[in-house]
């Protein structure tokens, strides 16, 4: 027994009207020649694609996502591993620590990083009192600061799918590989990592998509000197009121994200097939 597909009709209609139609209008606006919106042209796209400044903003944003995702994976994988391998009593504590940041407001989490990275912040006070530096370091408004803050803010998105993937791995496999004389590292790279690949890819996709669109963290921790795509879109759309160009940047950004997501999806399907084979 199952429900008819027509039960999905109201939501489908809602999405058609308020999701697909707005995106089509975004495309339509991006194809306007100027802000008067009287004639159509692809000039907004050529302006973006032949402008080294705009291209550098796009490249910088996409690369930021790579850095954040890599850091999240390096830190998140061991945490998920510890959740699965650790004692049962530790699991509820770990899950609260992972879920709390996910549910706490992004503004609050970003604010915490302003406090931590500031000149009078926790890192600088520690370095000063340990005598490791005599002048406070500049940590806020640097790319490194943005990467670390974003990695922390997005880490739950990486850890949750990893926990799912790692819990599904039969622990006997590890024991078998150890019994066959494979070392801990070898077993890890040959057994654990390949089998958790679907989780890794799902986590990377969610983290990447979230990191490059994290407007608040990028602008508050990055400061006025670093421009990423979301702020670029926001500036063009509101302060400069250049809707056609803002729409074109949004479309380029959407396309870039879609491309990355599709690559992850294809890899995910391949890895699932591989893991199940």
């Amino acid at each position: 027994m199952s429900y008819e597909l027509k039960l999905a009709a109201p939501l489908a209609a809602f999405f058609g009207l308020f999701f697909i139609l707005p995106l089509l209008i975004l495309l339509y606006v991006s194809l306007q020649a100027d802000t008067a919106m009287t004639s159509m042209a692809v000039s907004q796209f050529t302006r973006f694609l032949f402008d080294p400044f705009s291209l550098s903003v796009l490249a910088h944003t996409l690369f930021l996502g790579v850095e954040v995702t890599a850091l999240c994976l390096i830190l998140g994988f061991p945490l998920a591993w510890a959740y699965v391998r650790g004692p049962a009593w530790a699991q509820p504590i770990l899950i609260v620590v992972v879920l709390l940041p996910l549910l706490t407001s992004v503004v609050v989490r970003t604010f915490a990083w302003i406090v931590i990275l500031g000149r009078q912040g926790i890192v600088n006070s520690a370095l000063l009192s340990l005598g490791l530096t005599d002048t406070p370091l500049r940590l806020l408004y640097t790319e490194g600061g943005v990467v670390v803050a974003l990695a922390q803010v997005q880490m739950p998105l990486m850890v949750l799918p990893l926990i799912t993937a790692l819990s599904r791995i039969d622990r006997n496999l590890d024991d078998a590989s150890a019994a066959l004389g494979a070392g801990a590292w070898r077993g890890f790279w040959r057994v654990t990592v390949p089998l958790s690949l679907p989780g890794i890819l799902a986590g990377c996709m969610l983290t990447y998509a979230a990191a490059i669109t994290a407007f608040i963290t990028q602008s508050l921790v990055g400061g006025g000197q670093m421009l990423f795509m979301p702020m670029y879109i926001y500036q063009q759309a509101t302060a400069l009121q250049n809707w056609p160009f803002a729409a074109a940047i949004s479309i380029v950004f959407l396309a870039a994200v879609l491309a990355v997501v599709s690559v992850f999806n294809v890899l995910g399907r391949l890895s699932k097939a591989h893991a199940e084979a």
């Binding site: 199952s2 597909l5 027509k6 039960l7 999905a8 109201p10 939501l11 809602f14 999405f15 308020f18 999701f19 139609l21 707005p22 995106l23 209008i25 975004l26 606006v29 390096i74 830190l75 994988f77 061991p78 899950i95 992972v98 879920l99 709390l100 940041p101 996910l102 549910l103 706490t104 407001s105 992004v106 503004v107 609050v108 604010f111 915490a112 302003i114 406090v115 009078q120 926790i122 922390q152 739950p156 949750l160 799918p161 799912t164 070392g183 801990a184 590292w185 969610l206 998509a209 669109t213 407007f215 608040i216 508050l220 979301p230 759309a237 509101t238 949004s250 479309i251 959407l254 994200v257």
Partner: protein, 269 residues
């Protein structure tokens, strides 16, 4: 030989547990730091604070701009959650067990707001509403929020429908129960925790939404996260730390409550 293996295994453990401990601290520390700083007696975000007091919590009592924004955010989040459940649950029932290509396509469509840049969608919505001549209002905000929040309700509901014993429903039907009766008396109680968990996440993410609100709000529909962001950028008032402290405590309590009634953590994976 054995010794070497033992050393290697030890090294592996040290690296893995060390990194896990590091990320544990990294996940936990910021919330703790905010809570500590919110009790400062000073005017700056110095850590550790020069002294401790409740003054910033007291100052929230007259912070009418923040209170106004918080009230708006709560109303919008409540309306968004209600609409997301009304639209999302039937859709989840419809596509959860359907193997057809059309159901798969709808599933991908409904999930796509999770990965697409919400800021682009926010801008698209603003353009859409201004083209059809609907001014920015609480209504437009709710519509925009539902699009980005409904995937959470769908995800957890679909997962709980997938776990249903369908033979149970069939036997109820064969005993002559109407579909509506079966749904109300058997299906709904079984999938209720899934719906609750999804509704909770939808509520939190609407309450915290920035990229859509950024374009669809104005001063009369001021939203708390945006007010906080602008306060952080414009005047760095320590009262923001107190607001954050309140939000952390409320979130933590709600989370524990939801874990009890809906098994939240199982439904998020």
């Amino acid at each position: 030989m054995h010794r070497q293996e033992g050393l290697e295994a030890l090294g592996f453990r040290i690296v893995m547990w060390g990194l896990a401990a590091l990320s544990f601290v990294l996940l936990l520390a910021p919330s703790l730091v905010v809570v500590v700083v919110s009790f400062t007696s000073g005017y700056s975000l110095k850590f550790p604070p020069p002294g401790y007091s409740f003054r910033w919590y007291v100052s929230l009592l007259d912070a009418w701009q923040l209170q106004f924004a918080a009230g708006n955010s709560l109303e919008i989040a409540a309306a968004t959650t209600a609409l997301s459940v009304l639209l999302g649950v039937p859709a989840a029932l419809a596509i959860a067990r359907s193997p057809t290509a059309r159901a798969r396509a709808l599933d991908s469509l409904f999930m796509s707001p999770l990965v697409l840049p919400a800021l682009s969608f926010g801008l698209a919505s603003l353009m859409f509403f201004s083209l059809i001549g609907l001014p920015v209002s609480p209504l437009t905000l709710v519509i925009g929020h539902v699009v980005v929040c409904v995937p959470y309700v769908m995800r957890t509901t679909i997962a709980s429908v997938a776990q249903l014993e369908f033979s149970l429903l069939e036997s109820s039907a064969s005993l002559g129960a109407s579909r509506w009766y079966t749904f109300r008396r058997i299906t709904l109680p079984l999938i209720r925790p899934g719906i609750l968990a999804g509704a909770f996440i939808a509520f939190m993410s609407s309450f915290d939404n920035v990229p859509v609100s950024l374009f669809l709000r104005d001063a009369r529909t001021d939203m708390l996260p945006i007010r906080m962001w602008q306060d952080l950028e414009g005047k760095l008032d320590v009262s923001i730390a107190a607001v954050s402290g309140v939000m952390i405590v409320v979130t933590l309590s709600l989370m524990i409550l939801m874990e009890r009634v809906a098994g939240l953590s199982r439904r998020l994976r």
